[in-house]
């Protein structure tokens, strides 16, 4: 990865997550176009946009699930791709919630939550299990600690997945369409947990189309289209007075029903 001279020029302010002129290609397709975006500590940013606009790719870059091609991406003060950056270490500070949950099917809910704390964070098992039980109780699954993912509903699985991330005591939480794979009646139970996490001051980037969630806890909404950030503003500004044709067209589609 090459460092971006423009990026180095304004090193004055560093957010928790700092994109500076980031580009990424899948083959010939420019999936991230010159992304510049800074997320402050404790800030909650909602990313929305049409399918294929690059929003998932954007947050997958933050914990290195996708590599960036050029530009700088600085997370918690560490530049991705820098030889001095220990990516495995950095990932322990970043929770990632997947659309398809990706719980470990051979582990119970509690084991899902304690696996990385025990083996990666090296927290003593007894302590990790105590933490894990508390976290599962916090997401409303205190009675499901010994259940396997296959025995849980989608909403319950996603709440276990959130508890699994929280078990690592991360500084940042990333959510990649956390409610898109859920039946409608299960969406709110997951959003409630996310609101609680946000209200505790977690730095969050959330890819979602849940406008209620955005209005409630987001400081900022970022609208992406065709790999670029087209518009960004407070939820109030964005939903009430979208500035571009593309965001107006997008909002009219998702708000219609």
């Amino acid at each position: 990865m090459t460092s971006n001279p423009k990026g180095q020029a304004n090193m004055t302010k560093t957010g928790m997550i700092d994109f500076r002129g980031v580009n990424k290609w899948f083959g010939a397709l420019n999936v991230l176009k010159d992304i510049t975006l800074s997320v402050e500590p404790r800030e909650v940013v909602v990313v929305c946009g049409p399918s294929g606009s690059g929003k998932s790719t954007l947050i997958r870059c933050i914990n290195g699930l996708e590599a960036i091609k050029d530009g700088d991406l600085i997370v918690d003060g560490q530049r991705l791709g820098d030889p001095a950056t220990n990516m495995t270490r950095l990932r322990t500070e970043i929770g990632f919630v997947f659309q398809s949950f990706n719980l470990y099917p051979h582990k119970t809910a509690l084991e899902n939550v304690t696996l990385a704390p025990i083996h990666v964070r090296r927290i003593p098992r007894a302590e990790a299990e105590k933490d894990g039980r508390e976290l599962l109780a916090k997401v409303g699954l205190g009675d499901k600690v010994d259940a396997y993912p296959g025995q849980l509903s989608g909403g319950q699985q996603q709440r276990v997945a959130i508890a699994r991330c929280l078990g690592m005591r991360p500084k940042i939480m990333l959510f990649d369409e956390p409610t898109s794979a859920l039946d409608p009646e299960m969406i709110s139970e997951v959003l409630d947990v996310m609101v609680a996490v946000a209200e505790e001051g977690m730095t969050m980037m959330v890819v979602t189309h849940e406008m209620g969630f955005a209005r409630k806890v987001a400081q900022r909404v970022v609208f992406m289209d065709a790999g670029a950030i087209v518009e960004s503003g407070t939820p109030e500004e964005f939903f009430s007075h979208p500035k571009t044709d593309r965001s107006r067209a997008f909002l009219s589609k998702i708000l219609r029903h």
Partner: protein, 225 residues
């Protein structure tokens, strides 16, 4: 016709068949353990991104699967001494079965690992696990369950393949049948008896497969989506 069939001779030779059966069982067990070791190593090499390990592993697997086991056995039995390695026939036999079956086991294990959804790897990566931790804690325990039934299938093949070791005078089950056939000129008695014993071994392994299947059924193998 059937009055010529001598059950008495079979009973007379039963101790010999018993010894052969025992030999077949333990040399198959050792060979299968060897095949697992070879297979795990080859599968690990074959799953690497770089060509340095992957290409030799693929070449080995292709070479073994493309050539007859008998040719491989003869190469080791007759060829190795000419190259300066003189080994007892039993060792050569176990080596041949391990090296041969290992190539098939490698493909079973590789398929098992690749059958685990990509999201499982990503979940491990995202929580800061190293490659080794991901394999040990997330991928292999799941892949292991998927591979048990085909591995038992491969074990059945190995038991039958072990009959070829009679050709390098290992005193296993088929060898016992050959002895009866040649000493008393009773091929029907000799070979029907060993067939019965192989059938017995087959049902044992099949029972084991069914048991493991029931055990695997206790827990869901895959999360939804």
């Amino acid at each position: 016709m059937l009055e010529n069939f001598s059950f008495r001779t079979i009973v007379e030779y039963l101790p010999l068949f018993g010894q052969g059966l025992v030999t077949t069982v333990w040399l198959s067990l050792i060979s299968f353990a060897g095949a697992l070791a070879v297979g795990i190593l080859l599968a690990a090499m074959n799953l690497q991104r770089g060509w340095l390990f992957r290409v030799p592993a693929k070449a080995y697997i292709d070479a073994v699967r493309a050539t007859p086991l008998l040719a491989q056995l003869y190469f080791l039995y007759f060829g190795l001494p000419r190259l300066g390695f003189v080994l007892p026939e039993l060792v050569v036999g176990i080596l041949a079965l391990s090296l041969n079956s290992g190539a098939y086991v490698a493909e079973i294990i590789r398929a098992g690992i690749l059958s685990i959804p990509r999201g499982q790897v990503e979940a491990g990566v995202a929580s800061g696990m190293t490659y080794v931790q991901r394999m040990r804690l997330v991928i292999l325990p799941q892949a292991f369950k998927v591979t048990i039934p085909p591995l038992l299938g491969q074990a059945i093949v190995l038991v039958k393949d072990s009959a070829l070791l009679s050709l390098i005078s290992v005193a296993e089950l088929t060898r016992a049948g050959q002895l009866l056939a040649s000493d008393r000129f009773m091929p029907a008695e000799g070979f029907i008896t060993i067939a019965a014993f192989y059938l017995l071994l087959y049902y044992c392994l099949k029972g084991l497969a069914a048991l493991s299947g029931r055990w695997l059924g206790l827990q869901p193998a895959r999360s939804s989506t």
